[in-house]
Symmetry: C2
């Protein structure tokens, strides 16, 4: 897909970059340093959009007039608890064990930033239900030790060993769970297609 503007990804996630490559989009990457704290009274979808727009606000002043930026936020929610990234083995083990045999929700926010548009930041959210089969303890231990999932919300990657082996079904956009709602992105980018 060819665009009339230069795309800037405000994320260092290799999975988001790979999706843009899968979409045949040319882009450059800018790292952002954003405090992802959100007000606790927000709902899951509101939180994802809030954090995505925090990132968008950080990216906006870095963009030139011929650039458009994208930011995204992905989080795991179970029983009204927000799961960020696990800090260590014990936290990762506890997170994955609490997801075992249950359906949790992955909520993601996506923002498009166009410095020369009337509304400079547009956002959308995506909610996906993800169901895990029972995960035996040896599998949780093996997964954490082999794949070090400390860069992922909820301490798992749907596209990795534990996702292939133990996720029985999802309801929603698969790519959102990996880290970017690519179909929503394409809809947002349609006005910029050459």
């Amino acid at each position: 897909m060819k665009l009339t503007k230069t795309l800037v990804l405000g994320s260092q996630s290799p999975r988001r970059a790979q999706f843009l490559k899968d979409l045949e989009l040319d882009f450059k990457t800018l790292p952002l340093d954003v405090d992802e704290t959100a007000p606790s009274e927000l709902s899951a979808s509101e939180t994802a959009i809030f954090v995505s727009e925090l990132k968008a606000s950080a990216l906006l002043p870095l963009l030139g007039p011929d650039e458009i930026g994208i930011t995204s936020d992905t989080e795991v929610w179970l029983d009204n608890r927000r799961y960020g990234k696990a800090a260590n083995y014990e936290e990762a083990f506890e997170m994955i064990q609490s997801l075992s045999g249950k359906t949790h929700v992955v909520v993601s926010g996506l923002s498009i930033i166009d410095p020369s548009a009337a509304s400079t930041i547009q956002s959308s959210s995506s909610v996906v239900e993800v169901s895990f089969n029972d995960i035996p303890e040896w599998a949780i231990d093996h997964y954490i030790k082999t794949y070090s999932p400390f860069d992922k919300a909820g301490a798992y990657g749907i596209q990795e060993w534990i996702g292939r082996g133990f996720i029985s079904e999802i309801k929603g956009n698969y790519n959102s769970v990996v880290g970017l709602d690519t179909a929503a992105l394409v809809s947002f980018l349609t006005p910029y297609f050459k």
Copy 2:
């Protein structure tokens, strides 16, 4: 995952082989030559299991006593019509265009073959709803010319450019749509874990 028997994949699909690698399974591959014609009175799920078991019956006599085999079949259904592989550009275009803006069903069958078990062939089926956004004609044309999806039921790959860009959501097992219900496979293989 380490098994007490040697795994034999009765398929030449590179996507199925990659899934077994993702699951860290050792396996070997045997190509099968099977006529995939199924009785027209069968339902979608019955057809997928019928074809998977045709492949299983072809694989069974090739297996040694310390081997277990797996076969699978994946098909696309829309409005009671079974979509196999497209023979040429025109068929692929017509298939993808008919999926555009609609929800279709991907049905897959999975069979496990153990020559030394009481029931030598066990099968399961998986049904997944897949929703496409509207796909513009330039995108269908670009996809077919660039990705040559003639080895895929329904003439598309969910993990490819067209899937990333235009599939809004699914309900069911993502890996089934790619070509193998890996979570069901792990459940089937549990008795063989070392």
